[in-house]
């Protein structure tokens, strides 16, 4: 057993952290405040190879392992969880193509993401279907030489900037999971209507919108897998993407810990730095434990993916534990900063707002527990 990162992984982490410190942190507060999409920072990260880590080398990607991917995502989330949501959404949308696409589809849809800066969206959730994703209503009808897509999607990350959508739709809602298909859609196709950008509590720089499909014609060859294979593709995608989302929580926790350590050594109360007070020490110790435990779970969930082991259960441990820990750690960071922590002049209140979303998206902390219980009680 070896817990050490390879020299190459250390170099990758070093670069991603340097990028987070120099390019993301200086702009995170303002972009969050004004809700500015981090287009140029995203592009710069893409130029350095820090995004789209899921694209295999044979299609022009970096060919990184899942573990490499979470190491990068953790470091970028250290810079800003909100911006990292935009970056990660690309992987989330491209993974179904990596998992369920034919060689031809991969060349056609993945390679352009390696030669040009492009943005993608994963369209699963609907206004009426969040946790119960299998009950989706967006419909796919056979139009002869093409498919016809109708319906509405909700909370779609990157929707306003995307060059590619992967949409989940059903050929017959009565078939439930067995009727679901995954299909690649060009966002410029006639009949697609974007909603307004959501005004969110956190992750405010990421672009989140509703998307409406009105008789949208989609080429037949854009379907990933066969009719009814969409659900299996979505579930396999989540096995890969949950460690990634968990790593974002981990990165946020790590930042909150670092900031708390620095501040508690600087802030003087009762004549000593507050780090000398046991009440603060206990909060910091708790944070450090949870960061390390989150990291071990996240790395293991990604490592299992790389070993082609079924990681559904561990990925849910990682997602739920890292997200819940991030909420606790960022809340305590605000507590350690006291009144200053509650002010937007200081960086920790943003971390607390950002943490909340990770308990919700990509399977709520409650859904993760259902998944875990289902596996444990099997």
């Amino acid at each position: 057993m070896d817990f050490a990162l390879s020299q190459e992984q250390k170099d990758i982490q070093e670069l991603a952290l340097k990028f987070a410190r120099n390019e993301m942190i200086p702009h995170a507060q303002e972009m969050d405040d004004k809700g500015i999409f981090p287009h140029d920072i995203f592009k710069k990260a893409w130029e350095l190879g820090l995004t789209n880590t899921c694209i295999p080398a044979e299609y022009g990607g970096t060919g990184f392992s899942s573990l490499d991917g979470v190491i990068i995502s953790e470091a970028l989330a250290y810079g800003c969880m909100g911006m990292n949501t935009s970056f990660m959404a690309n992987d989330l949308a491209l993974l179904p193509i990596v998992i369920g696409g034919t060689d031809e589809q991969k060349k056609k849809f993945l390679t352009p993401f390696t030669t040009d800066f492009r943005i993608a969206s994963f369209c699963l959730t609907e206004p009426g279907n969040g946790s119960d994703a299998g009950g989706l209503k967006t419909s796919l009808k056979d139009g002869g030489d093409h498919w016809i897509l109708n319906g509405e999607k909700m909370w779609i990350t990157n929707a306003g900037h995307a060059h590619l959508f992967v949409v989940y739709a059903t050929i017959d809602p009565a078939l439930k999971h067995k009727g679901i298909c995954a299909i690649v859609v060009d966002p410029k196709t006639a009949g697609i209507e974007l909603g307004k950008k959501e005004d969110k509590m956190g992750h405010r720089s990421s672009d989140t919108r509703g998307v409406r499909f009105n008789n949208v014609k989609v080429p037949k060859e854009n379907m990933l897998g066969g009719v009814g294979e969409g659900w299996a593709i979505a579930m396999k995608t989540l096995d890969h993407s949950r460690p990634l989302v968990a790593s974002s929580a981990l990165g946020g926790s790590w930042r909150a810990l670092d900031l708390s350590v620095i501040y508690s050594k600087e802030r003087i109360q009762f004549g000593v730095p507050i780090a000398k007070h046991q009440a603060v020490q206990f909060m910091i110790a708790e944070m450090a434990m949870k960061v390390e435990a989150s990291r071990l779970l996240v790395y293991k969930a990604a490592w299992m993916c790389d070993q082609h082991q079924k990681n559904t259960e561990v990925a849910s441990y990682a997602k739920a534990f890292a997200a819940d820990s991030c909420m606790q750690i960022t809340t305590d960071a605000v507590q350690i900063y006291g009144g200053y922590g509650y002010s937007k002049e200081y960086p920790v209140e943003k971390l607390m707002r950002d943490a909340k979303l990770i308990q919700i998206y990509e399977g709520t902390s409650q859904i993760q527990r259902l998944v875990i219980a289902r596996e444990v009680l099997r």
């Binding site: 190459e8 170099d11 990758i12 670069l15 340097k18 990028f19 130029e47 350095l48 190879g49 820090l50 970096t62 990184f64």
Partner: protein, 262 residues
């Protein structure tokens, strides 16, 4: 065109530096090393020249411990073609380092057209190696360079002088340029660059291989210790006009007897 870039590995700026147990050097076991930030400008300048001249070859060269080769790997990940490492302790003096660099350059068999280095290393701040090396190589050198243009074989280098003014030099043929902040913006090593760097050639020599021995040392470090901790400052209250004369006398007295600066 062969460009040599001299790089040094220095402790990360956030490192808390402490003397080692016997005070002979700093404790290096727990240090995180980075490329000397001024050397990044030198590497970037070499890569900019390479971008404009496809035939240019950039060799990075370093004298120092073999335990961690961060600076060379970073430079090659940024885009340098190959590397040379002369294995040595981290506490050599400037003369020995310059002599080792010259030895390694001679050994490479490459005809050097340009040398680039950072103007100083941020650890010992000696500001000597580029100039000593240029002297050994018998070529002109310009230090604290903030502007660089290459036209054919003519180099125009701008250096900062006191008062914010610039001196402009025109140099023909091989020379040493010691780079300062403001010359360019160093690029990041990209992830594909990091992967490619592993396959790039890196020659390794001992000090003896490049003709350097203990006898070359011009500076011997006698001991390292932290500066004494600064005592808390003294405050004097002179708000009461009637007492001001008395307070001034007190301050002057202490400056004479205690601080001994007047």
């Amino acid at each position: 065109m062969n460009i040599f870039v001299c790089v040094k590995q220095v402790p990360d700026t956030e490192t808390k530096v402490v003397p080692n147990a016997d005070g002979s050097f700093i404790e290096t076991s727990s240090i995180k090393w980075i490329m000397n930030p001024y050397d990044e400008f030198a590497v970037e300048q070499a890569l900019l020249i390479k971008q404009a001249n496809a035939a240019a070859n950039v060799t990075v060269i370093r004298v120092g411990s073999v335990k961690d080769t961060e600076a060379l790997r970073t430079a090659m990940a940024m885009g340098a073609d190959d590397g040379i490492l002369v294995e040595a302790g981290d506490n050599l003096d400037s003369f020995s380092i310059a002599k080792a660099l010259k030895g390694a350059i001679d050994k490479s068999g490459k005809k050097a057209d340009l040398f680039l280095a950072g103007k100083q290393a941020i650890d010992d701040d000696c500001l000597q190696v580029p100039q000593i090396l240029a002297q050994m190589l018998d070529m002109p050198s310009v230090a604290v360079v903030v502007g660089f243009e290459l036209n054919g074989t003519t180099i125009k280098a701008k250096r900062e002088i006191e008062g914010g003014a610039l001196e402009v030099y025109e140099i023909n043929g091989p020379c040493m340029i010691a780079c300062n902040k403001g010359l360019n913006t160093p690029r990041y090593a990209s992830l594909p660059g990091i992967m490619k760097a592993k396959k790039k050639p890196m020659a390794q020599h001992s000090l003896a291989d490049v003709g350097v021995s203990d006898a070359d040392r011009r500076v011997k470090y006698s001991g390292f210790r932290l500066p004494p901790e600064k005592p808390a400052g003294k405050k004097f209250d002179a708000t009461d006009a009637a007492k001001q004369k008395e307070v001034v006398a007190q301050v002057v007295g202490l400056l004479r007897t205690e601080a001994k600066i007047i």
